[in-house]
Amino acid sequence: MENNIVTIENATFGYEEDKPIVKNISLNIPQGKITAIMGGSGSGKTTLLRLISGQYKPNYGRVNVFGKNISTLSNSEILKLRRNLGMLFQFGALFTDMTVYENVAFSLKEHTDLPKEIIDKIVAMKLEAVGLFGTQHMMPQELSGGMARRVALARSIALDPQLMLYDEPFTGLDPISLNVSAMLIKKLNNALGQTSVLVTHDIEASLKIVDYIYFMANGEIVAAGTPEEVKKTNNPIVRQFVDGQVSGPFNFEYATTLNYNTYMGLNNQMEKFS
């Protein structure tokens, strides 16, 4: 039987209870695997990630991380739980008043009593792992977007967390950086024995590295499967997303009760012409 690091049972969350962003979601994240959560913009992927990291608590349902129900934990217990958790933010979220070294060493200094010489070596190892050894003295403003994201990755793995959460790690990267990042995630997951959750809408890069995929639309999980199953599936929602079709079950337009033609007065014009 698989050991699940994260178990979500019928979780619903919204800033206002009558406007849920994530609706009645249930999923499992098995240990040692890379699980992707995919879906279009605004489908609730990042919110789901924030539910796992304990930044939000569900309005209904349960979110269990490392076997603990997030809803019942106090703030200090959540902070304690997060020591086993790393998160890579969409744009890195590096501390802009600190050097690369200080960023990567941040959690080591905060949570351990290691001497400086050891911290220096760990920082060097983590930066080497992301291919950025030698940038210790640089400020975040001096780094490119891709480099900043890799420094943020080095920072998030500084304490060798058991669970890694990646929020859109491929957004805005050139094809080379994108593949490098994807391989890095795979390599780190295997080498450090981590469990990874990847929120992304990049199909191509994700299918190469993930073990399981959940598809989200309008705050709900609409499909799930392994990369092979996803490639072969005839599920119209998955097909539209994987093939990037313009028309299909995913509605591109904002759901509104207003009618564009009526709003622009086009119906009257039509009548005049006909």
Binding site: Q55, R83, F91, F95, F106, E110
Partner: protein
């Protein structure tokens, strides 16, 4: 009937919002107090904040103090001359600065220079997810960011106030003694005989300390509640300066009524 309800809601809304903010800011104050130990253990963080909010405000504080002192010297001289009491100029300048203008103006200038900076820094950290990142890294942002800023602020304001007073007194001296040829000995001796250490200097410092708490607390609170957008941070920065100035002036009235 509906119109009456709406009118009551419109009138009541600012009051309920004010009470809500007051409650939240009090909760933040207690959270800071709980986390003070961490800041004192990491004293370099406090030093950094004293440098940011205090040392970098020295120029604006001393220059402003100097000009305020000069204006007091001029106005005081003209007024006292009518009553043949120009010898009292030293006392007038010193008492005005030590009791009122020093603590109040230095705290307002601190809010405008350093408080707005604190709000913008925290607001931008929020907008760029740095606060979230810190929290996910199991470090409480109140402990790591807010508490050192708070301590730095409440140390800096009384010291800045003393600098303002000193620069102001020298400004008054410059106008009274150097420009208007008042006797130097009279200027200082009158000041020495009328200024009381406890009533004037210590009370002024107590005022500064309380203004420092208010200005710093408002600055960090506004940063934390800022909307994570360019407009949100800009609005929060403005709110810091406006709220701090009004709070300092209101507190000044209360403290003056209690102290003097």
């Amino acid at each position: 009937m509906r119109r009456i309800y709406n009118t009551i809601a419109v009138i009541g809304n600012p009051f309920t919002t004010f009470i809500l903010h007051l409650g939240r800011i009090t909760a933040l104050f207690f959270q800071i107090l709980i986390n003070l130990t961490y800041s004192f253990k990491n004293f370099r963080l406090i030093i950094k904040e004293i440098h940011f909010s205090g040392v970098r405000s020295i120029v604006i504080i001393t220059v402003s103090g100097w000009f305020v002192g000069m204006v007091l010297g001029l106005q005081g001289y003209n007024t006292l001359e009518r009553f043949n009491s120009v010898s009292m100029l030293g006392s007038v300048v010193a008492l005005s600065l030590l009791r009122e203008l020093g603590p109040v103006l230095s705290a307002i200038l601190f809010a405008a220079r350093a408080g707005s900076g604190m709000t913008a820094e925290i607001g931008l950290m929020k907008a760029t997810e740095q606060i979230d990142a810190m929290s996910v890294m199991a470090v409480d942002p109140i402990k790591r960011i807010v508490a050192p800023k708070f301590i730095g602020g409440i140390i800096a304001v009384p010291v800045l106030s003393l600098l303002f007073n000193t620069a102001g007194i020298w400004g008054g001296y410059f106008v009274g003694v150097v420009l208007l040829h008042l006797d130097k000995g009279t200027f200082w001796s009158q000041m020495q005989s009328s200024v009381n250490l406890h009533d004037d200097i210590i009370n002024g410092l107590i005022k500064s300390f309380i203004f420092g708490i208010a200005a710093t607390l408002i600055a960090v609170y506004q940063g934390f509640i800022a909307k994570p957008t360019a407009e949100g941070v800009s609005l929060a920065t403005t709110n810091t300066v406006v709220s701090s100035a009004l709070t300092i002036l209101a507190l000044d009235f209360i403290l003056t009524a209690l102290m003097f």
